[in-house]
Symmetry: C2
Subunit: 214 residues, 2 copies
């Protein structure tokens, strides 16, 4: 998925980095970020400790590069996804729709579950989780803007947009966290549908977009 630089990279380098990253994730999930030493990582990856420092400055550097790649990937995929909403099959029109962008985010979590688990636990540096929150806030902002662009009604937000967007991002993160910690008892599509069912309707209300029927 990530790290496909233009320059050709020695096989050993790719293999080494993948091993190190995998070892770090596994070890963090086993005993927590703080308890993991560089020697732990290289032993698990079956590499010399010296090799580690050939590639990364320290433990945090390794984790942050992994997270950065993950987030870059998410941003890329989000950018390639239309913001439109599809009406759901045969459902009576309760405003129930399916937004591919939302489903995509949950799908991304499912694919990279281990890394998201580490990220959402805030292991390592807080900056990673903060970045994810900003990205989700931005995505939510874009969705809202996209949906309201076609509406001729004037917006009368019940709360400042910043407050609302950050709350929804928090709900998203809380939902993903619960989902991962519970061992993903629902599919990513189900999660996306539930997220919409909970918050898309109230979004219109909070924005002041409710016109008539409850």
């Amino acid at each position: 998925m990530p790290s496909n630089q233009n320059e050709k990279i020695d096989r050993r380098v790719n293999r080494t980095r993948r091993s190190l990253q995998g070892a770090l994730l596994a070890l963090i999930l086993e005993k927590g970020y703080d308890a993991v030493t560089v020697e732990d990582i290289t032993r698990r990856a079956d590499l010399g400790r010296t090799t580690f420092y050939l590639h990364y400055r320290d433990k945090e550097d390794l984790l942050m590069q992994a997270v950065q790649d993950l987030i870059d990937d998410l941003v890329n995929e989000l950018a390639q996804t239309p913001l439109d909403a599809w009406k759901l099959n045969g459902q009576e029109d309760r405003g129930e729709v399916f937004v591919p962008a939302i489903a995509l985010a949950f799908h991304h979590v499912a694919i990279h579950a281990d890394l998201y688990r580490v990220l959402l636990r805030g292991e390592g540096t807080y900056s990673a989780l903060r970045r994810l929150r900003k990205i989700l806030s931005g995505a939510i902002s874009s969705l809202i803007q996209h949906f309201t662009a076609y509406s001729r009604v004037e917006l009368k937000p019940q709360v400042p947009m910043e407050v609302f967007v950050n709350s929804l991002a928090g709900a998203w993160i809380g939902l993903m966290t619960w989902w991962l910690e519970e061992g993903m008892p629902y599919s990513s599509e189900e999660m996306a549908v539930m997220y919409q069912r909970m918050f898309m309707r109230s979004t219109r209300e909070v924005l002041g977009l409710i016109n008539g029927e409850g």
Copy 2:
């Protein structure tokens, strides 16, 4: 607020512990949990390094005791607060109410801002943030149960309650985090009102409690 044991404690002990806790919080906010050493803490607190180990096992022990006291205090206060909702002043009845329990939580954050900042950043161990999330989820559950107890309508939740409650707790945490990181641009009462404005209405919808008027 916390640590009022029955036994009389030597003045020096209280002073020392308060100094150490204050120093740790300040240092974490300055340069992050990982970068803080025990010697940093004792130097800032103007104490000998040996003294630290007279009171705490390590850095994490100190932080966790502080967080534990904080959470105990929050739980205590929540337990003493009625779950009822007061109707807001002269407002037209848009279902807008004021729930003391919600306001109390935001107030608690304002009073202990530094510690919450550290806690919400997930500095130290993830377990603390996880505990807070569970407490908020529990509080939300209680509120929902309390509100619906008087309703004769049968509930038809649109999503599993666990999903909904965890999302709302996430929104709460996201909102508090944003609030703290932005330097608390609103009062805790305003925050509580906004939280309710965003989610109390949609809660009734998600629970299937919408009867007539939108």
